[in-house]
Amino acid sequence: MITPSDHSVIISPVEALDPELSKMIGNEILRSFGLRTETKPLLNDVAFALDPNRNQHHSTVILKKLADLAPAGAIRVLAVTRVDLFIPILTHVYGEAQLGGKACIVSTNRLDEGLSVGNRETFFQRIVKEAVHELGHTFNLRHCQDHSCIMHYCRSIRDVDRKTDQLCRYCRILLADELKLLSST
């Protein structure tokens, strides 16, 4: 039986996710990737990935679990969490993705940097951009040198604000190649 998960990207909130934000992410994924989304919590708790020494969560460990939990046929799984993420060699990451894989995650933890309380619009825009960026990696897109492209790697939160919510023409072509491959399999 074909379930809705069979042809959609699952947005998996770890904690409660603002419905407006969930909708914004979904709309952006539909616009950039042409894929519809479904919000479905697959992980309610990520304590298993907590490193007590660093008081941060190991994103790679979460991604493995997330990929295991992905419903059969779900195109990709994108987790959204409030916890601070890290990979062992780096001090922190905004998010992580399995390159060409199933799962990706974005953390909202550091994305409110420099914002006044209540500036939800910019905060949400940042989260949407980083979510689309991480999802792009699961379609084999690498960091892009074009500063305005959504796949550009942001060295600071200012760079996140500066980049647009669009893929540059190169990344659009490379994504189209990947989507063509996906539809042929």
Binding site: T60, F86, I87, P88, I89, L90, T91, H92, V93, E96, A97, L99, H137, R142, H143, Y153, R155, S156, R169, Y170, I173, L174
Partner: protein, 447 residues
């Protein structure tokens, strides 16, 4: 292709994996080694741009890896990774030739900035090399020489292909004369009165490639002080030769395909469409079928380029051309060096005929040039060819060409104290090829 090749050397799996994942997402080609010993093996097998080496490892330490890498005369840049408390060792490493060090866990910004800095400095070095090569190319474009059957077939092909407008893809080993074949096609084509514009896709730094190909408008970027025509525009009415096409970045592949389809492009920062008509010839020593499978070369571009293709034969398959080529190079270099050398002894020629010439015509050219420079008589003798050693070449019936090649490589390495860069230059092959041959023939460095 446009990616920097990075080797991570760390005995902790979790560190290797997390760093590799981050760097791959950043667009680099990444390999890992769990020990210093494994890293040195991998360096022998393939070329890397950057090594990220953990200082503290079981077995061979990071400092020892650095020392061995320095001894190998590789031009890889080494960055040491260290934990807090081992900074003094990292500083010692920098004194011993490491490019920099990172304190783990490191800020992703610090890593990104450092990788950018290293790639920029390596691109600069490649650009300098390219300019030197361009200078040498001026003298290399001469008429093609060869009476052998494989070369006669190439000449026939060139005659057939030249009058057409079709794109040509020339394959063949390094030094086999792909550039000469491209020039010959141009000279015999209806485009011959137009320019022959060469783009060495492997040598132009990737950040300059777009501007080199398409040109730029004044003010398009910080260094764009004047409007500059790109090579596509310069090739208008002539032939555009894309050498080492297998090295071109995915981004440029997309742009190039579009230009080949539409013949219209824009200068960087420009808004006016520019039309240019030229014939395209591309060359590569890579196996593009494999590159397509590895998804580093676009299939649509491959089919666009591969309308007509042929392979340049390696020199070992047309040894009967060696005397003619040697004579040609003797004439040229004796004139250039002003030395009265006008022939080659039978013994020296016998040795040249025995050798496999893995670096093809370019290696032969280098050997003759060297012989003329060091020689003391009008005739090139075996001893003027220091790369040949009769006692090791053992011109005894029964010796295979592989045995001769192994002996020659061993001797050259020994003479040059295993300096890989110098030995590969003398042998006329690149370092990767030399490393592969060392591995294949199991040549061991003396303790």
């Amino acid at each position: 292709m446009d990616n920097t090749k990075i080797l991570i050397v760390d005995d902790e799996l979790i560190m290797r994996e997390s760093l590799a994942g981050w760097l791959e997402r950043d667009g680099h080609l990444v390999d890992t080694a769990a020990s210093g010993e494994e890293a040195l093996e991998k360096i022998k097998e393939s070329r890397f741009d950057i090594l990220l080496v953990d200082i503290k490892m079981e077995g061979m330490s990071g400092l020892e890896v650095l020392k061995k890498v320095n001894e190998s005369d590789s031009d890889v840049d080494v960055v040491m990774i260290t934990a807090y408390g081992s900074i003094s060792t990292a500083i010692e490493a920098m004194k011993n030739g490491a490019y920099d060090y990172l304190l783990k866990p490191f800020d992703p910004n610090a890593l990104g900035v450092l990788i950018d800095k290293i790639t920029a400095h390596q691109a600069q070095a490649r650009e300098n090399l390219f300019l030197k090569e361009q200078y040498k190319e001026r003298t290399r474009f001469e008429s093609m020489i060869g009476q052998s059957k494989p070369m006669q077939e190439v000449f026939d092909l060139i005659q057939d292909v030249a009058p057409m407008n079709s794109t040509v893809l020339i394959t063949g080993e390094t030094g086999s004369g792909k550039g000469l074949a491209a020039k010959a096609i141009h000279t015999n084509s209806p485009w011959c009165d137009g320019p022959f514009v060469v783009v060495n896709c492997g040598a132009i730094p990737k950040h300059l490639m777009e501007s080199e190909l398409f040109g730029h408008q004044k003010g398009a970027f910080t260094d764009a002080k004047e409007t500059k025509k790109g090579r596509l525009e310069l090739a208008h009415g002539g032939t555009l030769f894309l050498d080492e096409i297998g090295e071109i970045s995915m981004r440029m592949q997309i742009d190039l395909l579009q230009v080949l389809e539409d013949r219209i492009f824009y200068r960087v920062g420009g808004t006016q469409p520019i039309e240019a008509y030229f014939r395209v010839i591309a060359a590569t020593n890579r196996n593009l079928d494999e590159a397509i499978k590895a998804r580093i070369f676009r299939e649509d571009l491959y089919y666009r380029l591969n309308v007509i293709s042929f392979k340049m034969p390696p020199l070992r398959d047309r040894k009967e051309d060696i005397p003619l080529l040697t004579e040609h190079f003797i004439r040229r270099f004796s004139q250039e060096t002003n030395k009265p050398v006008d022939r080659i002894s039978r013994e020296a020629m016998d040795e040249m005929m025995l050798y496999e010439w893995p670096g093809n015509i370019r290696e032969l050219e280098n050997a003759v040039e060297r012989a003329i420079v060091v020689g003391k008589s009008r005739s090139i003798r075996p001893e003027d060819l220091p790369i040949f050693h009769p006692e090791h070449l053992v011109c005894v019936p029964g010796n295979t060409l592989q045995e001769v090649e192994k002996a020659h490589i061993t001797e050259t390495l020994k003479e040059n104290q295993w300096n890989i860069a110098r030995s590969s230059k003398i042998l006329g092959i690149d370092r990767t090829t030399l490393y592969n041959k060392i591995k294949r023939y199991q040549i061991k460095k003396p303790a």
